[in-house]
């Protein structure tokens, strides 16, 4: 395992991509995103997620709508905009390219 300090920035950079991926086609609530990431090495917290979602909304990649919840106040449900879907597709391609490059180098 390389030093943790070298891996942390990689995770941080990838988080945005993963959040776009989770939001995907459906509309999700922040707790859904946290739950999806919880078991992985990308496990994160609301303190990180809200600023990121705010930035993605500003960049017009996600949008949200308020939906009533069974208990408690209405919640924000996020989904991708068209630009967000295009960005996700581009990131997916780029990820595959990176993956191939990393695998093929050193052979």
């Amino acid at each position: 395992m390389p030093a943790e300090s070298k891996l942390a920035p990689i995770r941080k950079g990838l988080l945005e991509f993963l959040v776009l991926k989770i939001v995907g086609g459906r509309s999700v609530y922040v707790a859904d995103i946290l739950r999806k990431l919880a078991g992985t090495e990308f496990s994160t917290q609301e303190g990180t997620l809200y600023p990121l979602l705010s930035k993605l909304r500003r960049e017009d990649l996600v949008q949200y709508e308020w939906q009533e919840s069974e208990a408690g106040p209405p919640r924000k449900y996020y989904r991708l905009t068209q630009a967000g879907q295009a960005q996700l597709a581009a990131l997916d391609d780029y990820w595959n390219l990176l993956n191939r490059t990393v695998t093929n180098l050193g052979h």
Partner: protein, 205 residues
Amino acid sequence: MHRIATVVRLNRTTLQLDDSAYARLERYLEESASLLEGDPDPEEIIADLEQAVAEQCTRRLPSNQSVVTLAELEPALEEIGSVQLPGNGSASSSQWQASSPSPRRPAESRALQQISQGAVISGVCLGLAEHFRLDATLVRVAFVLLLIFTSGALIPVYLALMVLMPYAPLDPDGAPVRWLPAKCRAAMEFLRAKLGVDRPRKIAA
């Protein structure tokens, strides 16, 4: 007489907090606000965090208890975590295109804007000095002299400039923001948000 709880409104939920929980939450929200310095939408994120706190505390509250104490608040804040800003807060999404590194913009900082980092009051003098390429101390001394000379008539001018001059984005490598400039900045951003100036409104999907 003994005060038992303070009722607070957290985004869309009301919650009763005892004194120590109230103080702790106040500190957490202040910390979050200062960590969000430079983010274009701090109010939105604070509102989200407030709602998260309300939900987490409500969930943790034992059924025979109505006042939130540190026993509920601490683990709630622990789970929410402190504010982490995503990479570069800029509106460009070019960070994924390895071929186009986002250029630093030192030259553009000549625009007439207030500079919080290293400021004494709000950053008006520092901003003016930067804009007109003058020494900041010179501008401040001139400001104080004029203030005395005009027997205070410069104060409304300063306040007007505080409202009118936008704030320069914070440079993570720059000087720290002192207490008063941070408060001024927060107050002006609050005021601008209230007036609906230069801030995109929430979208209704």
